[in-house]
């Protein structure tokens, strides 16, 4: 079973919600948290742990054996990323940055051995134990690499392979197809947003994506005293989602964030809000065993 925490806009406190919710839920479920914000993964920092058990994510990358290649250009024609350029005589060259590792070129090449299976490192996945009794899986894209999709998909698989009762997914911001990949198979999406015009605009997009994917959504309004929560409610209602929590701007949350100590574990009044979010989730999922 999987649920996802997402938010249209970066910096809305999505990771704070994901982490505190996970900690609050750990008593009800045997769970794993997956940080699929692979361009800027931060959950480990918020949990105060160092990433461990690194595994490389390597993708196919064509290497040409020019002694065999007949310069037919088929590989270049089929490459949707235009990662292969050909010289006037048809000699193919790869521009490694553009290559997505899909292997379409290898599939069409009719000359055995003209394309050799090279590899390129795209990033890493990690499996880190946390002091809170659940593991964290993290995907991390290598700097200079453009394609987040393979890392998202591999990190998700690694988390799924643990076979936990509940998988919590923390997605990237935005609504691109890497976010849909992270959301896929979720029973519920917790959309974190802010009541500012920017937050509302981006929050609406994530609700639209949830609707398109046919996944029920609940809304958490962060920094709820910054604007008009009524507007968020209106939009949520339009998409059949309910606002389940309002988190006011809070120095305590910032302090706990900076100290790497999840707020849900302390006695600050804000801890109650996260516990309440967790119990709404439990209720929705039909209770944990």
């Amino acid at each position: 079973m999987q649920i996802a925490v997402s938010g249209g806009k970066g910096g809305t406190g999505k990771s704070t919600v994901a982490i505190n919710m996970t900690i609050a839920l750990r008593e009800r479920y045997d769970l794993v948290l997956a940080d699929l914000d692979v361009e800027a993964p931060n959950d480990h920092l918020l949990l105060g742990v160092e990433l461990a058990n690194e595994e490389p994510v390597e993708l196919f990358m064509p290497r040409f054996d020019y002694s065999k290649c007949t310069r037919c250009r088929k590989c270049a024609e089929v490459c949707e990323e235009h990662a292969i350029i050909t010289m006037r005589d048809g000699t193919p060259f790869l521009m490694p940055n553009l290559c997505s590792g899909c292997a379409a070129c290898e599939i069409v090449c009719q000359v055995p051995g003209a394309i050799l299976p090279g590899k390129k490192l795209m990033g890493h996945t990690y499996l880190t134990e946390t002091p809170y009794g659940f593991p964290l899986v993290t995907g991390r894209l290598l700097e200079g690499e453009e394609r987040a999709m393979p890392i998202v998909s591999r990190a998700k698989k690694r988390a799924q392979a643990l076979g936990k009762e509940l998988l919590l997914v923390d997605t990237a911001a935005g609504t691109s197809n890497t976010v849909s990949k992270a959301l896929e198979d979720s029973r519920l999406i917790i959309a974190v947003t802010e009541p500012t015009p920017l937050g509302i605009h981006d929050g609406e997009l994530i609700l639209r994506l949830a609707k398109l994917m046919d996944i029920p959504a609940m809304v958490v309004v962060n920094r709820s005293d910054l604007g008009d929560v009524g507007r968020v409610r209106e939009i949520a209602e339009r998409y059949g989602a309910e606002v389940i929590a309002e988190i006011p701007y809070s120095e305590n949350i910032i302090r706990s964030y900076v100290e790497g100590k999840p707020i849900v574990l302390g006695d600050y009044p804000e801890a109650g809000i996260f516990r309440e979010i967790a119990s709404r989730v439990v209720e929705f999922l039909g209770g944990g065993e």
Binding site: G8, K9, G10, G11, T12, S15, E39, A40, N42, L45, L46, V78, E80, E81, N97, S100, G101, C102, A103, A104, I107, V108, L141, E143, G144, E146, R147, A148, M149, P150, S153, A172, A173, G174, T175, S176, N177, T178, S180, K181, E184, T196, P197, L198, H201, D202, L205, R208, L209, L212, M213, R223, L226, G227, Y249, I254, Y257, V258, G260
Partner: protein, 295 residues
């Protein structure tokens, strides 16, 4: 000159800083602003844009479609899709349009010719307006569930270059996306320099370091603006990092409620709250940008 503002992490105030910087530079310089965060554009909102003068649809994303009539349900496409985008729904093989990368591997391996076709779909819009401050803004909005491609940003920059020619503008100021993926690479690639915005937290430091590696990859100079600089007094690692790397700090903006309040008013904070301490800091930064960068 092409100047990029990047941060690695979302939510550190990059766009609010950009909007205020644009506001402070607008009288002296002729530039076009580009919002290169096509996945979550917001510069238009921060600059109070209400309508677009021109909009171009961007067709270019591709998704595979399976013809269930001719499909023999062999499952090869599902096995070979590099991104697990093919599902079996009620016995039919179906491509999940919202995750497909359009690589066409499924089409190449399918044994029944013509069963899988790659179709071009809309990936979003690129649009242009003249802001109430007089300078033009190019922005884009990616459609929900489309591959986040650098092509959109490249398209935006092309349009911006055209405008520079037509209107005789000297500079392009690009507000890059968060993260370090294709849009950021397309933003930073071809630029003259990058201004990084970060806040003093471990998460922001880690992300800005990653963005800086992209800048280094393109061998460009970088500058740093520290936002919410008094937010975490014990945290000195950000300044130390900048010093070690030799990245000049253009200025520090203290945490100020004027900034979130100005966001709700849809105005740059230097315009909405010119007397705030954040605005003071921002004016000093703009001064250094004048003296050291735009000259």
């Amino acid at each position: 000159m092409q100047l990029v503002i990047a941060s690695g992490k979302g939510g550190v105030g990059k766009s609010t800083v950009t909007a205020s910087l644009l506001y402070l530079l607008k009288d002296e310089y002729r530039f076009v602003a580009v919002d290169a965060d096509a996945d979550a554009p917001n510069l238009d909102l921060l600059l109070g844009v209400e309508h677009w003068e021109e909009e171009k649809e961007l067709i270019g994303a591709k998704v595979a479609r399976i013809n269930t009539e001719s499909c023999i349900r062999c499952g090869i496409c599902q096995e070979r899709c590099p991104y697990d985008c093919i599902k079996v729904i009620d016995g039919d093989y179906v491509v999940s349009e919202l995750t497909c990368e359009g690589c066409n591997v499924c089409g190449l391996v399918c044994p029944v010719p013509g069963t899988i076709t790659l179709e071009e779909v809309r990936s979003g819009v690129v649009r242009k307006t003249t802001t109430r401050y007089g300078f033009p803004l190019i922005s884009a909005q990616l459609d929900v569930g489309r591959p986040n491609s650098g092509k959109l940003v490249t398209e935006e920059k092309e349009w911006a270059k055209k405008l520079m020619g037509e209107l005789g503008l000297e500079h392009m100021i690009v507000d890059s996306a968060a993260g370090i993926g294709c849009q950021v690479i397309a933003s930073i690639g071809g630029a003259d320099l990058t201004i990084l915005v970060a806040e003093p937290t471990p998460a922001s430091l880690s992300d800005v370091q990653r963005a800086y590696r992209v800048v280094q990859h393109f061998r460009q100079p970088a500058y740093l603006i520290i936002n919410k600089s008094d937010f975490n007094p014990g945290f000195t690692a950000l300044r130390e990092w900048a010093e070690t790397e030799g990245i000049p700090i253009l200025g520090e903006i203290p945490y100020d409620r004027a900034i979130p309040r100005s966001m709700s008013m849809l105005k740059p904070f230097v315009e909405a709250f010119p007397d705030s301490k954040a605005a003071d800091a921002m004016r000093e930064i703009a001064e250094r940008v004048r003296k050291e960068i735009l000259k």
